[in-house]
Amino acid sequence: MYSQALNERVEGPRIVEDPEKLAAFQARIDAEERIEPNDWMPEAYRRTLIRQIGQHAHSEVVGMLPEGNWITRAPSLRRKAALLAKVQDEGGHGLYLYAAAETLGVSREELYEQLLAGKAKYSSIFNYPTLTWADIGCIGWLVDGAAIMNQIPLCRTSYGPYARAMIRICKEESFHQRQGYEIMLALCRGTAEQKAMAQDALNRWWWPSLMMFGPPDTESRHTAESMRWKIKRFTNDELRQKFVDATVPQGHYLGLTFPDPELRFDEATGHWRFGKIDWDEFRRVLAGHGPCNRERMAARRKAHEEGAWVREAALAHAAKRRARERAQKIAAE
């Protein structure tokens, strides 16, 4: 899964950094050194990373919902086990990423409160519904496929804990992508109804998957700093093109048609050229007006609120136990 935070400028009080420290920092970045939690870093670098890693973590956690929607209805026990394990992996990714963000001096609770309060974003893709089993195939194939394109470069991102988390995440995501494609393959080799289900899912997921890379480079004004700090290494359009080039032949192998009449292979450049993305839709969904934005946040808030008594009980028990242990120690002395 992927956060679109790479494209956003982080707001906050302007801090004038010590030019010498800043130059030394940039020299380390240019020398491809990893920045570690205790190293000096510019405040804007720290804030950008907190926002980006936080949004990435939120995307993993919110992303559990659309796929979780099919766990109880998975069509075979093998698919059910694979889907359960996959959604569990997403939750695990959320955990490592929150832990990576914590190394920057923000707590997981703070980040999570921002999500629940609607102040932090998560990937727009999870605001689309999973209507049929083929959607589970498409999420693996396209959404995880797009996530991998974005995340492989993040394995070399300049901040050490983030880069290391991404290595493990990428391995798992590529497994998910293959599983998703295999679901699509089974559908496309199945009955006419199954193939129609696969085509319908591709029709609905293709464009939102392309939007996962964020706005076009011409409109994405805030990436220069991230590129300079090597948080980000490729532009949105570069990554989107790589994804299209990799994915189109896979779709054709399945015997499916992409919902883009302008899609054609450009012999001269060796790239697949695609039609115009509906950026109005993208902005609308990011602004909260996708098919499932409200439901997704309501589900997260409900789980959090209904779990409050459990978290309180765990804390109360821990405190009581400490008190009992102290009392025993005193009695023994």
Binding site: I71, A81, L187, Q194, A314, A316, H317
Partner: protein
């Protein structure tokens, strides 16, 4: 595909009971995925669900082999209707709140841990092999659910109230764990199944120990619910199967 009907021998019925209980319990746990009180529990409950689903798959495969008609694990899971399911009733009750889920998992694990330990010596070597794997998994389930039972019982007024309520609701379903009918008798006699009478003291010892740590008391044993092993279920199982079997039923014969 329409509903299938198996020609059940006591051995097949017995393996189906274990398989169905594992699958139905896994299903209820899987309903927590994405909705647990904290991310760690999303992962942990799914982990337990995955173990149980794995056990169910091995048991269905074994059952299909015993029947010898070339059926698959999916035929057995997806193409039988509620009256043919033989799971313990306790496994099918709706997931309830977190206390309910924890109490249920503690009770089931406290039973199945010694059960699988003993089943390692089964004369049914396939079942013995499954037991070897399940025993280790359930030991962890008991540790995890038991630790939560203690936290919830000893936590706040609210957590204690919810846990007591869950315990009162679930306790009448524990009688079925120890029920021995003619199928059970035949299996115990053949050395295939452990005798639940020998499991009871271990079950009671671990439940009492956990309840003691949690500051709770074992409910008074009164009238016990029964029926699951004979296919007479609560109202909840039919709904669960309607959801679980939906695709297999809607697209008969399709391969997924």
């Amino acid at each position: 595909m329409t509903t299938i009907h198996l020609e059940e021998t006591p051995h097949l019925t017995y393996v189906l009971r274990l398989a169905d209980t594992a699958l139905v319990n896994a299903h209820r746990l899987s309903e927590w995925c994405g909705h647990a009180p904290m991310l760690e529990e999303d992962l942990a409950l799914v982990n337990i669900a995955l173990d149980l689903l794995g056990q169910a798959r091995l048991l269905y495969e074994h059952a299909a082999g015993l029947e010898g008609k070339g059926r698959t694990e999916d035929d057995l899971a997806y193409l039988r209707d509620a009256p043919q399911f033989k799971n313990l009733l306790i496994a099918e009750l709706p997931r309830g709140d977190f206390a309910f889920t924890i109490v249920r998992q503690t009770l089931l694990s406290a039973f199945f841990h010694p059960f699988w330990q003993q089943a390692v010596g089964s004369t049914d070597r396939t079942l013995a092999g499954i037991a070897g794997k399940a025993e280790k998994e359930v030991a962890y389930h008991l540790r995890h659910a038991g630790a939560w039972l203690v936290r919830l019982g000893d936590g706040t007024e609210e957590s204690r109230r919810r846990t007591v309520e869950a315990l009162e609701t679930l306790w009448p379903y524990t009688g079925e764990l120890f029920e021995v009918d003619t199928v059970g008798e035949a299996m115990i006699e053949a050395g295939i199944a452990p005798d639940p009478a020998t499991i009871r003291p271990v079950f009671e010892e671990s439940v009492d120990r956990l309840l003691g740590e949690a500051g709770l008391e074992r409910p008074v044993a009164g009238w016990m619910q029964t029926g699951g092993l004979r296919g007479v279920h609560t109202e909840h199982l039919g709904h669960m199967l309607a959801v679980m079997q939906h695709l297999q039923r809607a697209y008969p014969g399709a391969v997924w």
